[in-house]
């Protein structure tokens, strides 16, 4: 069926992935990404995020369920999907022996771009990602942030309708991260559909129209970031850094208490309630703040390590 702009860009239905060793990475996941939307996939390490992303372009074959990307089934039309989508994989995998512009020229050929059109597009993209000065540089001379930007430029070569990013800002400094966020926002404005995985809640909150949290291969939450924070966690958190300091605290009313190693957290929809509790503490022993997406994430996926 021909894809039309009015259809969802990505439809994932009851998708499972069992690897040959028997490991079930994805256990029946459903979600849709609307055309023009910025969608995020969050989850701890090993939750199945990358498996899901790879199944979208048949880098990994699904075990069951159905997937449609821009109207195509990746199992049948891998090439069409990749022709129409830009993919930013998790690892840096540029050709280290080639310079920046040659990396892009070689890659443009994979899409069948003509040399002249490719040159114009490359200049435009290097300019867009603020890499024009590095045109002749070897990959080894680039910082991690420059490499990431170059991989994003590479993914944009064929003027994609959909951009798939697997942890695009992992390991980057805040300056580069914000620059990349700004560029991604611009791309969305231009009508691109974007999908990303990330470990950074701030990133998901800032960028995504909608997101899904997955854990152990199943979807545990889905919605707009602001709505998830509103409906899945109390509005305020009182963090007490010294556990001993909280020993003598008395409290009543709608307050939830959580103890994590040496810290104690009080959650409540009433800031006044938490302020009352805090009044018995030394300043510097506590921290009262609004709850955020990270609180929701930790509440739904648990605080234990997933590695």
């Amino acid at each position: 069926m021909a894809y039309t702009g009015a259809m969802p860009a990505i439809v994932v239905q009851n998708v499972t992935k069992t690897y040959s060793g028997g490991f079930e990475a994805v256990k029946g996941i459903n979600f849709e990404v609307e055309t023009g939307e910025f969608f995020g996939l969050l989850g701890p390490n090993g939750a199945g995020k990358s498996s899901l992303m790879r199944m979208l372009y048949n880098k990994s074959e699904r075990s069951a369920g159905s997937i449609e990307v821009l109207g195509y089934d990746p199992a049948q039309n891998e090439l069409e999907i990749k022709f129409l989508s830009g993919i930013v994989p998790q690892d840096d995998n540029l050709d280290v022996d080639l310079d920046v512009v040659t990396n892009l020229k070689v890659y443009a050929r994979f899409y069948g771009l003509k040399a002249k059109a490719a040159r114009a597009r490359i200049d435009e993209l290097l300019d867009f990602l603020e890499l024009s000065e590095k045109k002749e540089s070897k990959i080894r001379e680039l910082s991690g942030g420059m490499r990431r930007r170059l991989i994003i430029a590479r993914a944009l070569l064929n003027d994609p309708k959909l951009l798939i990013l697997d942890e695009p800002t992992t390991g980057l400094d805040p300056q580069v991260r914000h620059l990349i966020w700004d560029k991604l926002r611009l791309l969305k404005k231009q009508g691109l559909t974007l999908m990303l995985t990330t470990h950074y809640m701030e990133e998901a909150f800032q960028l995504c129209d909608r997101l899904a949290i997955i854990d152990h291969g199943v979807k545990v939450l889905e919605g707009k970031p602001i709505d998830l924070v509103k409906s899945h966690i109390e509005a305020y958190v009182l963090e007490i850094i010294q556990r001993e300091a909280s020993a003598a605290l008395t409290y009543s009313g709608p307050v939830r208490r959580e103890t994590i190693q040496d810290r104690v957290l009080f959650f409540s929809d009433s800031a006044a309630e938490l302020e009352t509790i805090a009044s018995a503490l030394h300043p510097g022993d506590f921290y009262l703040r609004q709850s955020n997406l990270e609180d929701v994430f930790l509440k739904t996926t648990g605080r234990s390590l997933h590695d």
């Binding site: 840096d92 280290v96 069948g112 064929n158």
Partner: protein, 264 residues
């Protein structure tokens, strides 16, 4: 609801995809021209100097030719065998496991099979280049006795193509890079000695000559001998048939097995 049907997707043809992969390898190879393009000329130079100054004085003639002349014919193709074997064992393995080059390429509109066939095409091209380099050195020594020896270039292409497919098949099984040492010691090195390069196969006892007939290097070397006006044991037709069947069969097997490592 506005429905705008997008234009038909102009995915590049199979040929263009494979040649685009080939082009990637050409660009990477030629990016360090000095270290990549000099050895194929130096190797036969050193070899011939050694044989000419040393061994050649003791072995005067072989199969009716001066020994250095006999050896030269086979040397055109052994370099293609070696370069192909390295390219698709260590080279392919490093691209797969360490440099993650394929991960990057698979994000473009290429299939895993496109990547592997393009790589084999490059290996074959490299073999033609290496055979050509040897021929140039041989010509300097006055060892190119007939223009027919230029057949070494297409034969180098086929030799490297063939050894590329074998190497890739081996790589599809290998999980530890050191295991390639077994392949070189137990398979490639013996081939150098028992494929009609250093002595004529006719000298082998009848009972073991058929074993040489099964081995891959034997056939391009026989064809090269025929081109240079020498003798063949198995006949030009059989040698050609071997190459024409071997390359696509082993190539398909290797590519399909590698695909399973590239698509999880």
């Amino acid at each position: 609801m506005t429905e705008t049907i997008l234009p038909r997707v102009a995915v590049p043809s199979l040929t263009r995809r494979i040649t685009s992969v080939w082009w990637r390898h050409v660009r990477v190879y030629s990016s360090s021209l000095v270290s990549n393009a000099l050895p194929p000329f130096l190797e036969p130079l050193i070899f011939l100097a050694g044989i000419g100054l040393g061994l050649g004085r003791y072995i005067v003639s072989m199969d009716g030719l001066p020994y250095i002349q006999f050896l030269a014919v086979g040397l055109v193709l052994t370099s293609a065998m070696y370069t192909a074997s390295f390219e698709n064992t260590f080279g392919t393995f490093i691209r797969l496991e360490f440099d993650k080059v394929y991960d990057g390429m698979q994000a473009a509109s290429l299939t895993a099979r496109d990547l592997m066939w393009g790589e084999l095409l490059f290996t074959a091209t490299k073999g033609a280049f290496f055979a050509g380099a040897v021929l140039i050195i041989l010509a300097c020594f006055g060892l190119v006795t007939t223009p027919w020896m230029l057949m070494g270039v297409p034969l180098g292409f086929l030799t490297a193509g063939m050894f590329g497919t074998i190497a890739m098949l081996v790589t599809s099984f290998v999980t530890n890079i050191n295991h390639f040492n077994f392949y070189f010691t137990l398979f490639i090195s013996p081939l150098f000695f028992f494929s009609g390069v250093v002595f004529p196969l006719a000298q082998l006892p009848d009972s073991v000559r058929w074993v040489a007939g099964l081995m891959p290097l034997t056939h391009p070397v026989e064809l090269m001998r025929a081109a240079a006006g020498g003798h063949t044991v198995f006949g030009v037709g059989w040698n050609l048939l071997y190459l024409v069947v071997f390359i696509p069969v082993v190539g398909t097997l290797a590519v399909n097995r590698m695909r399973r490592r590239l698509v999880s």
